[in-house]
């Protein structure tokens, strides 16, 4: 058992730099991702506030807008050149540097080894490289806001030829930095994903069979497969876009034989799997939290797993639904419509299974459960509004309107972010050894829930009225002028929504020092991570635990001690030892 001996050597004291900065410990790397992505979440939110100011109060000086340089705002009034940067960078930061690393960077890193009973990732040093490349990519992207001419002006999707030609977009350096940052980020994502995949396949504790894995791990595993296959396509596309800018190639220049739609095909071939990268881990973690909060086994575990796999597979053949209006062959449009509608089925299965889990449960409304239930309630709205866009004739009207803006925010905010608020609270004790404040957590939840809906639900109505997205001044159009009160209302709600997030930030930061000391298993959960002290020590277990059952054995009849939970690692007299009780080797 050399691996066990190796753990002890890891307990030797390490310098501050090795322990917290250039750490190879998957938990520290997860925490690093957490802090950095929460920062980018804040940046993305600040950009959104400026967008909302302009839409709600076009032509009026923004409070505090006086500090912006002349190239962005004139006497506090935002300029159109700056507005399109805001729109583009809000999307870029939120998708690539907030939601994706929050879900995958933080929780794939933190949860996979802990939930599978591994000492660390398969390749700890590659894992560290994955964080630092992501950090570098974030810095490059952030820098692009401050170069002359500012950041990209072509949306986070960077449709060409607008993005490919500085004479069309008015941006040179911002675009170059965007491409470089995305290539570096793609590298980070591939390094991370190959680590997650290898760890899940090779580093499961004895007895942790495929169908005893928690759904969070299943979702993160499928997400990693999507990441490893999707990001390189975006990297390839971004490199070609970069070369069009710098080397004078003509990939996307229709005047010289290039093609404008080629970018869209490449981008969305990446982009649709990316959408599932942004929601699958949330679905997985919500499954864990709902089973815990309901004190019931997850309803239909196997169909949940197959639904995740089905979504992961179908996600590759639906990308054309972003391009119904692009001039793509209409027959192709029909087939993309059908595949898109079919992908609603596994999502429906998941929704009903979550409801089935709550049915006849004994629901404990701790903060993670509240957020998880809100996830289900909001994800349903986001999922159902997707049907409108999938139906091609309806898309003809609502494509590129606020209807799609409402849809994406119901999925990414109502879905992913609510799941993340829950997940952060749920695993906070195992990360930091303290609990987040429950009362403030609940206050934050309810205020967020209310203002979130007040902000994003009316956007459906804007979309129904034909309000285009990404326009600087809606009052330019007669048919949009009657909507201005609604725009104002949305903006005020959005400001309130942002303000409410400060409660979360304060709760998160203050609890690091002031939070109540966490017991080993505060939520009375079954996962392997709860067999460790809070916070989990370096190297996790001295000796990896053995797994005797699935992850959701709540309220099982015959559980000893009158408990309503039965951890995966607890051996009952009736349990048999798993056949292959080999201890996984530590590290690489």
């Amino acid at each position: 058992m050399t691996s066990v001996a190796a753990v002890h050597t890891h307990d030797a004291p390490m310098s501050f730099w090795r322990k917290y900065v250039f750490s190879t410990d998957h938990k520290i790397i997860g925490i690093q991702f957490l802090f950095v992505s929460l920062f980018f979440l804040l940046v993305g939110g600040l950009l959104a506030m400026q967008i909302r100011w302009q839409l709600g109060f076009p032509g009026q000086p923004m409070p505090g807008g006086g500090i912006l340089p002349e190239t962005m705002a004139s006497e506090g009034i935002l300029l159109p050149e700056y507005y399109v940067q805001l729109v583009s960078m809000h999307g870029t930061f939120m998708v690539f540097f907030a939601i994706m690393p929050l879900l995958v960077g933080v929780y794939a890193n933190f949860l996979i080894p802990l939930k599978l009973g591994a000492h660390d990732m398969a390749f700890p040093r590659i894992n560290m490289a994955s964080f630092w490349t992501a950090f570098l990519a974030g810095l490059i992207m952030l820098a692009s806001l401050f170069v002359p001419e500012g950041a990209i002006r072509s949306g986070w999707t960077n449709y060409v030829p607008l993005a490919a030609r500085p004479d069309y977009s008015g941006v040179t350096w911002g675009q170059i930095l965007w491409c470089i940052s995305i290539v570096v980020l793609g590298l980070s994502s591939v390094l991370g994903s190959l680590n997650y995949i290898t760890t899940v396949i090779n580093h499961r504790a004895p007895g942790m069979t495929w169908f005893r894995m928690p759904l969070s791990v299943w979702a993160l595993f499928i997400t990693a497969i999507l990441g490893v296959l999707a990001l390189p396509v975006l990297q390839g596309a971004a490199i070609m876009l970069l070369f069009d800018q710098t080397l004078g190639t003509h990939f996307f220049d229709p005047l010289e034989g290039g093609q404008a739609l080629l970018w869209q095909h490449l981008f969305w071939f990446f982009g649709h799997p990316e959408v599932y990268i942004l929601i699958l881990p949330a679905m997985g973690m919500v499954s864990d939290m709902i089973a815990n909060g309901s004190r019931k086994p997850i309803f239909g575990y196997h169909s949940m797993v197959f639904a995740i796999i089905a979504i992961g597979f179908l996600g590759w053949i639906v990308w054309g639904h972003h391009m119904f209006m692009s001039g793509m062959n209409p027959t192709l449009g029909s087939s993309f419509m059908i595949s898109t509608l079919v992908i609603a089925v596994p999502s429906a299965i998941k929704t009903f299974n979550w409801m089935g889990t709550m049915w006849r449960g004994n629901l404990r409304f701790h903060v993670p459960m509240l957020n998880a239930v809100a996830f289900v309630a909001m994800f349903v709205i986001g999922g159902l509004s997707g049907v409108f866009m999938a139906a091609t004739p309806v898309d003809m009207f609502i494509h590129d309107t606020y209807f799609i803006v409402a849809h994406i925010h119901y999925v990414l905010f109502g879905g992913s972010l609510f799941a993340l608020f829950g997940a952060i609270t749920f695993w906070y004790p195992k990360m930091f050894g303290r609990m987040m404040n429950q009362r403030w957590g609940k206050i934050h939840f309810w205020l967020t829930f209310v203002f979130y809906n007040l902000t994003f639900f009316p956007m459906h109505n804007l979309g129904m009225a034909g309000h285009m997205r990404r326009i600087y001044d809606p009052t330019q159009y007669e048919f949009l002028r009657p909507l201005q009160p609604l725009n104002e209302f949305i903006s005020i709600s959005a400001f309130a929504l942002f303000a409410v997030q400060l409660i979360f930030a304060a709760n998160f930061l203050l609890s690091l020092w002031k939070g109540e000391k966490a017991p080993q298993n505060p939520w009375e959960d079954n996962g392997l991570e709860w067999s460790l002290p809070s916070p989990a020590p370096h190297g996790n277990w001295e000796r990896v635990p053995t797994v005797y059952r699935g992850p959701y054995e709540f309220s099982a009849p015959g559980t000893p001690g009158g408990r309503d939970y039965l951890p995966q690692y607890e051996r009952l007299p009736t349990d048999r030892e798993p056949a292959a009780a080999l201890a996984p080797a530590l590290g690489d």
Partner: protein
């Protein structure tokens, strides 16, 4: 922690503290996953080339009109040979013969380095001739030839021809360079007594990468130079 090594399949797998799971050790599995992602990267580049080339009705430069096919054919042969020497290196250490491992790894490094050298030479000649990532440089020898025979040189598609050619072969060359660097690392590790019949994971993993890069080149050579 002992393992039974009876079947021939097991002989393919070096004995070392094995992880449970897929029966493939982590380094090798990680390399396979990485190669899957690399397949997608090259798919984006090659797919772009195929779409741009075959969706246009305009003529494309004929094979051999611009590019030096015999030289590149030799280069292709060289890269295939280096794959063979890689297999030889792998077989050597599987037999526990570190001396032969060092020799064959060195041969592979030389093969790869020569390939990159020839590619750089070819680039220099092509650019000098007037073939650049944005097409046929104005006033160059190639531009004159193309103006005289626009069909043969695919004058109207020269822009995307240059774009796709340099991007695809350039990134392949970058991959070969990375391979040579890693292989050099393997060589020095072997010099200092690394690898044994019991554990030669590094050799096998770099070998996988090397064969992959070789395979990509055979595809590129076929679709870029020959058709």
């Amino acid at each position: 922690m002992t393992h039974a090594h009876a079947s021939t399949a097991d002989l393919m797998r070096p004995p070392f503290p094995a992880e449970p799971g897929a029966g493939v050790y982590s380094n090798k599995l990680g390399m396979w996953v990485f190669l899957a992602s690399d397949v997608m990267f090259f798919t984006a580049l090659i797919g772009t080339y195929i779409i741009l080339r075959f969706s246009t009705d305009l003529p494309w430069a004929q094979p051999g009109a611009v590019l030096n096919v015999p030289l590149t054919a030799f280069n292709t042969f060289l890269l295939i040979c280096s794959s063979v020497s890689m297999v030889k290196a792998y077989a050597a250490i599987a037999d526990g013969d570190r001396e032969r491992l060092k020799f064959w790894v060195l041969m592979t490094i030389l093969g790869g380095a020569t390939f990159v050298g020839i590619q750089v030479y070819e680039y220099v000649k092509l650019v000098g001739h007037g073939f650049t990532p944005n097409g046929y440089r104005e006033g160059s020898e190639l531009a004159t030839l193309a103006a005289a025979e626009p069909l043969k040189y695919g004058l109207q598609t020269a822009g995307i021809y240059g774009s796709t050619f340099f991007t695809m072969t350039g990134f392949h060359g970058f991959h070969v360079t990375c391979g040579v660097v890693c292989m050099t690392w393997v060589y020095f590790k072997a010099l200092r007594g690394g690898y044994s019949q019991q554990d030669y994971r590094g050799v096998e993993v770099i070998g996988l990468y090397w064969h992959f890069v070789d395979l990509v080149w055979i595809i590129l050579f076929t679709i870029v130079y020959l058709i």
